[in-house]
Symmetry: C2
Subunit: 703 residues, 2 copies
């Protein structure tokens, strides 16, 4: 079934039945009946309650069978135990959508899971779309369709507008709607997926991507139960030109543990979620407030008007605020270009005592002579270094004298510079904010939130020009048995996949070792080969830097004696003879399996960087070379590879090729290989390549 | 003069003259006249204007001389050029305080500096306290003394309360007051110091530390023109038991550049400011909003009730919010202890489907059966792992049904657990927030701000038990000449100060070198000694690991030949023979001069860590050993020293002793030595000490 198919029964129902409808509007079975009537839902409302003939002034029906027609949507507000039968009755009556408020399912463990499985089976069998259970339901503003018991709708609905909200958490989703209502920000729909017995968050995103009323999608994510569906939904939104902003909770260990216990789903690595978002062009925020600020700003600008670059010029009437704004912009990753000499001159023409650099400080002259604002704004917006301008107005619009002049100025500026992004930091009043928003200015309250929102707009802009996602890799046939047996086999398999390795030989006697060494040239390294000894160094099974044939022969015997003493039962397949590689920088390169997203590749600098500072980059496999290069650039230690402080620059393209090759391999053999460790991948100076010095494949069954 | 002396003339004046008083209330000379009258200032108001007999309904005076009495305070709102004469006239008339609004002084460079110097001279000569110039003035709420033209007072004053605001930036200070007014948070005074010709930010802090109306001090800092005064003011506040919360702007490079150009003062390192704040027990925040949240919370709790530890239990009615709160708490550095088995049982008794771990999720039962809240709160607060509890109520107080029960519950809880910190995350309504605040609960809106505020409260609590600041170090006599000449002399001087070095000898021939090596034992290191060659390695002036007398003699000659070829004109003082030290971890330890705070010490791990990751700790000298240990612990790479992953644990106390010794040395010789580099300090495993392998002192004159 197409992702998101059939959700119109839930979001645009022409008639709604409430199973378990209650006379008491504080009950979950009573609230929708009340809200649908209060806010003027235009369709038919059918309370179903075997013990009432009337519910909140509406005729009630004893059963679904007794309804005069099959409504599009049934709201199920009965006990968990009664829910499966209720849903089955709805399916039998031909109802196409259901929202199940009831809790007491998979979130409680096994017994609840069995009940939930019944719901899922009914949904699958009938093709009915079922939202929940254990959810806060759904809401469409324009249709006034209210299939939720959220207390945030107590006083009024949010205005209709372009933001669509899809949330796994009921409370986070409805809190988003509450904030939108308070700020007068329009939303199209909201739906909360709860336990996701049928409709999942991917359905919600994909349906909103096709919904003409929705321009920007806000998404609260706790977990992901089906990675390919989620990724496909993100891609559908991207192709529809609808920015997706995600609040993904569980960024901390404590939060992840809580999320896993709360959702009953496996906790994927937060860093892998980050990588998935980045690849999909989805922008991640840290709070509901930030999500709403950014969503609103993106909707006001529209996709075509998103910033062209991260370069922003800051304009304030206060030195202190200018510094604070520069700090916040830097922290958000924005760049502050210097205005050209000509621009600076024009600013000083308007205000001789201004600070014409970036941040531009127009001083208190902006209050005493507000008419200078137009001159300064024009100077800045004419500067070719300026793609975006952030103007801090703070609380000045409370003064009618300033408000009038500023509004006129901004109206003129908006007309003259339609292609430039002018964002405003404004602390009220509300009606001025709404007026500015209507004029097409993104307006945010607060210095930090303004900088973050602008950075988010830049991030969303980048999604427009994303490379296509990496082509999927077909599953490959089984690996040769020795690939999972020892280093030699692992390297052979990786080499066949395109990971560079050294020319190596297996020796089974001191003489064979000496001969092999002579053939490849000294110095060499000896390493014991044994499927029982994945950690060779710990048993003394590695000897480095052997300079001649005698040393090799001697080293061979001494090493095997050591190993046999420390690991008497280990099956030894021989000794690997390799040329001794020198110079370069050691990377660790590996693959493992994420519980949500499957095989992922990880790269970092060797030694303490990866181990202690946790300075690694991770991406789901496969990975294209360009993205592999991005992984390297994202490392804090990247300057070490990039020629910092007189070091030779490393062969970055070779590293990127090795990452991409490993990623393809990991994706192709995901069923057979649980983990891959290349430690180290020796990365040589520019033009000299990279080479895997050690490799280990851990079979899936071994984990 | 005592820091802060005489500010009562500015903050508690019994009569105020306005020099340059204007009929027009939008002018800076008109606004105070209007505001003083509108808000009912009880003292005398004397407009001074030679061209008017009446200003805004008050009799005006042609000059300061013509005033019937000498008021405590003169507000000077005339042009920059006219200000020095006006101030002089005030001093002559016996006025004890002045606020100069006028701009056009040091912020404009040299010409303005000369004008400003006249103001300073008048202040110094007369003992008059002068606030400004180029400032927004001062305000005392209880006294209704309004010596400001801030537009944020347009509609009303903030309520009187315990927060005192001292700000260098006028706009940031008055924006803080505006937010306080909007949220109904009480403030005592606010003063903005602008160009600080006389009264500086230290004066403001110290005066507020003595002010009975002020309990918590909020401080916006752009720069520091006199470090010892600032540090003394912080200490005075600490001893008075008044938490100081600082918004220090210029945390980014772009911000620092803007701050330096805006204030005309030298930009000190932001990291050194951090160190000064930490040592003073001052808590640094990132935004005006955070400053106000934390200040208000600290005032509501009072110093005695600040949290006992960073351990916090989280309670929500929503799994999603719980995870988000756990993320925010972790990010803020709080710890989330697990409730005991008994606590968990009691929570499950109240709500069988709750998640009783931390974050505790009481589920939607908290709305349907609000009376369970008391049972759950008691269970958590009885847990000995719980020092603080953060309860998320979100928007639920908008529902009268819930509000009533919750308020009753919280009243009872507050009485039963007077010593526990219970913080609330509440999104309105305003009157409920004020009611809770009056009951003694710190209340914050938003998940992130709540966690940050609680972390700030923990930080302020730590200030109560701070060790005394390090005893000052007297300036020492001049160093022996060779200390600044070469490595040998530098090490001798540092060794005398307590920094451990190896037994070393100077050799002036190959034979002397061999003999010295034989006496100290092999292997040894040779290093060229020359005041012209601070970077020995670059000229081949270091040879490591010489194993016998012949190798030393040969190495000696070869090295000198190399050096003479590469640096033919360098004056060579001989060759240093040292034992070859091995093992251990290399630190870099150094001292340099901060433009604001003078000598500072810096420590980090050697190599890429310090250079590329910028993983270093910095503190003003001197530094006690306990603080030196904290410096080490603050390094990201600290686990490398602390025995991570099977490494031997380093001799941390030896490193701390070396840091403290270097810091004393740097402080004692601050006039003579501009920079000290010990690179590396070899830190050996536990119990084996540390040793400086190389050292360089850069004379002050050389910089």
């Amino acid at each position: 079934m197409t992702i998101g198919a059939g959700l119109e029964a839930i979001l645009q129902p022409r008639a709604i039945a409430i199973i378990g409808a209650s006379q008491d509007a504080t009950k979950i079975g009573g609230r929708p009946v009340q809200l649908l009537q209060r806010f003027g839902y235009p369709g038919k409302i059918y309370p179903v309650n075997p013990r009432a003939t009337e519910v909140q002034g509406l005729p009630a029906y004893p059963s679904v069978e007794a309804l005069p027609e099959a409504p599009d949507l049934a709201i199920i507000a009965v006990s968990a135990e009664a829910a499966p039968a209720a849903l089955e009755a709805c399916a039998a009556r031909g109802i196409r959508g259901a929202v199940i408020f009831s809790s007491g399912f998979a979130e409680l463990g096994e017994a609840g899971e069995a009940l939930q499985a019944q719901l899922r089976d009914t949904a699958r069998r009938s093709g009915m779309r079922v939202l929940g259970p254990n959810c806060l339901g759904a809401l469409s503003i324009a249709e006034k369709s209210i299939a939720t018991f959220s207390i945030v709708l107590e006083s009024s609905l949010p205005p209709a507008g372009p933001l669509g909200i899809a949330s796994q958490s009921g409370n986070l989703g409805s809190y988003t709607a509450l904030l939108a209502r308070e700020r007068g920000i329009g939303i199209s729909r909201f739906l909360t997926t709860g336990n996701e017995c049928d409709v999942d968050i991917a359905d919600g995103i994909a349906w909103l991507a096709r919904d003409p009323a929705t321009k920007v999608i806000l998404c609260c994510l706790e977990t992901c139960r089906d990675a390919p569906r989620l990724i496909a939904a993100f891609e559908e939104a991207r192709q529809a030109g609808k920015p997706v902003i995600v609040l993904k909770i569980g960024s901390s260990e404590a939060g992840q543990a809580a999320a896993a216990s709360h959702t009953g789903a496996l906790a994927g690595s937060d860093a892998v979620f980050d990588a998935v978002f980045r690849r999909a062009g989805v922008w991640r925020v840290q709070s509901v407030e930030e999500m709403l600020d950014l969503g609103h700003a993106a909707a006001v600008l529209g996709l075509e008007r998103l910033p062209k670059s991260r370069r922003v010029m800051l304009l304030t009437a206060s030195g202190g605020f200018g510094v604070l704004l520069a700090d916040a912009a830097s922290a958000a990753g924005l760049e502050l270009p210097m205005p050209s000499a000509g621009t600076q001159r024009r600013i000083l023409d308007a205000v001789p005592y201004a600070s014409p650099r970036n941040p531009v400080d127009a001083t208190a002259q902006m209050s005493s002579r507000p008419e200078i604002l137009e001159q300064i704004l024009s100077a800045i917006l004419d500067d070719e270094n300026c793609d975006s301008l952030l103007l801090l107005l703070s609380s000045s619009l409370y003064l009618p004298r300033l408000r009038n002049v500023y509004m006129q100025t901004l109206t003129a500026i908006r007309a003259r510079y339609p292609e430039k992004v002018v964002m405003l930091t404004v602390h009220g009043p509300q009606d001025a904010v709404e007026e500015l928003t209507a004029m097409g200015f993104p307006v945010v309250d607060g210095v930090g939130p303004s900088a973050q929102t602008l950075a988010g707009l830049c991030g969303l802009a980048a999604a427009r020009d994303l490379p296509p996602p990496p082509a999927p890799v077909a599953a490959a046939g089984p690996l040769p048995p020795d690939a999972l047996r020892n280093e030699y086999g692992a390297k052979k398999a990786l080499a066949a996949a395109g990971v560079p390795v050294l020319p190596e030989k297996i020796a089974r006697s001191a003489r064979e070792a000496s001969e092999a060494a002579q053939a490849m040239g000294f110095p060499v390294v000896l390493k014991v080969l044994s499927e029982d000894l994945p950690h060779k160094t710990e048993v003394g099974g590695v000897v480095l830097n052997l300079a001649d044939a005698a040393a090799v022969a001697e080293g061979y015997d001494a090493m095997l004696a050591r190993v046999r003493q420390k690991a008497p039962t280990a099956r030894i397949d021989g000794v690997l003879v390799s040329p001794m590689a020198r110079g370069g920088t050691e990377l660790i390169l590996g693959a493992k399996r994420d519980p949500v997203f499957g095989p992922v590749v990880v790269v970092g600098l060797g030694g303490i960087f990866a181990e202690i500072i946790q300075d690694v980059a991770v991406r789901p496999a496969p990975v294209e070379e360009a993205e592999a290069m991005e992984m390297l650039r994202s490392l804090k230690a990247f300057p070490v590879l990039d020629g910092a402080r007189g070091r030779p620059r490393a062969d970055l393209p070779a590293a990127a090729r090795a990452i991409a090759a490993l990623a393809r391999f990991a994706a192709a053999h995901a069923g057979e290989v649980a983990e891959i460790d290349i430690n180290p991948l020796l990365l040589l100076p520019e033009g000299q390549g990279a080479v895997a010095l050690d490799a280990l494949l851990v079979p899936a069954a071994a984990q």
